[in-house]
């Protein structure tokens, strides 16, 4: 399963909303800071890298597409 599919599966399994890859689920008010922490933990465990302080920008976590882009940048 590709990284995008893994991310999409995780996000859509937690958010009951008709999301596109670009839907900003924080701006839409669908999730909160608890889910932000949940996403950080998911990314670290699923893809096996530590999220560094300089990575902690909500722009990396706000949509499926943003997450995918961020993960790809870390995996190289």
């Amino acid at each position: 399963m590709s990284a995008l599919e893994r991310i999409k599966n995780y996000v859509t399994s937690n958010i009951s909303y008709d999301l596109t890859n670009e839907s900003d689920f924080f701006e839409l008010g669908l999730v909160d800071s608890l889910f932000a922490l949940q996403l950080v933990a998911f990314v670290e465990q699923e893809f096996g890298f530590s999220i560094e302080p300089e990575d902690l920008d909500i722009a990396h976590f706000c949509s499926i597409a943003a997450l995918h882009k961020f993960v790809e940048s870390k995996l190289g």
Binding site: S13, N14, I15, D32, S33, F35, L37, P53, L56
Partner: protein, 381 residues
Amino acid sequence: MQSDLTESHLAVRSRIRDFAKSQLESVANEIDATQVTPASVINAMAENGWLGAALPTDWGGGGLDPLAYGLVTEEVGRVSSAVRSLMTVHNMSTQALLRFGSDEQRARWLPALCKGQKRIAFALTEPNTRGASGEIKTLVEEDGDGYRLTGQKTWITYGQIADLFLVFARQGKMPVAFLVERGTPGFTTEAIVDPLGTRGSMLAKLNFDRVRVEASHRVGKVGAGLNFVASTALDHGRYSVAWGATGIVRACLEASTQYATHSTQDASALIGHQLIQRRLTNILMHETTARALCYRAAQFRCRQDARAAAETSLAKYHAADVAFDAATHAVAIHGGMGCSADLPIARYLRDATVLTIIEGTQEMLQTALSSYAARKLHAEG
């Protein structure tokens, strides 16, 4: 749940029980009455490793796993909610620094914090915001190669004596976190006296009058202050409060059972009266369910499950709720003595009330947990 405890867990629980009995029990009422935690108590907590108990051994901490740390917190909370609150804020702030601090910040601060030699407080709440972290009015502006910080914080636990503060501010619309040291020019603290509960937690208001902080004191990126730095710290704080609340319930159960067994009404022991039995049963249920949720949260945290923060919020919400109810029952069981300063019962009720407000009010947690409920059910199909 008891079966989840290893020999190591049992040993640390035994050690903290001995410490609480010998070092805290006899001074807990005095701490509440004088609104001061003596330096000797704080130093003993540090020297015995309790302040840094959950922090990594690499940095001088105790390296306890989440379950062990929970057990320690419960035992301290059972005796003194004020001293437990010192553990809470010190650990939560240090954990945030550990996670988001720069290499330079970690090297400079973690050794002393992990050993409890320096104390750190968590400064998020502001006057008139009722803990709503999205309404931060403390502002920061760039000043050369540093920043200027202006604003106020309030209800800061152990703000009267902390050496270092993890302060949350706003740069424009972006939240940002800073470390501010006591004694920095323009930074002053003033004691808050006569709070309802955890009266020994030496609360303070903080005033920042164009306080200059170096760029090297910023924790994390601009914009990461709330969703990540504060949220991570609050998660650790809620975990501690959940176990501390369970400790209060345990204290209520012990005191109420003892009192009801040895006190009489109408020539028979109180414990023989059905309405007293109902109250004792309720306290027992509260102790059982609070501890069950704390253990559950510990399990999620031990395996680093992505849902650990949400499950921890659930534990805090429930444990604080039932601690208040348990303390209410305890006061009723004790009658007039439940209102007397001669016993700790009234203190349990006052302290339990505070737990429903700190680290996220019950109402704020309801908002967050209802969202979690929707996610949880959706994920479970």
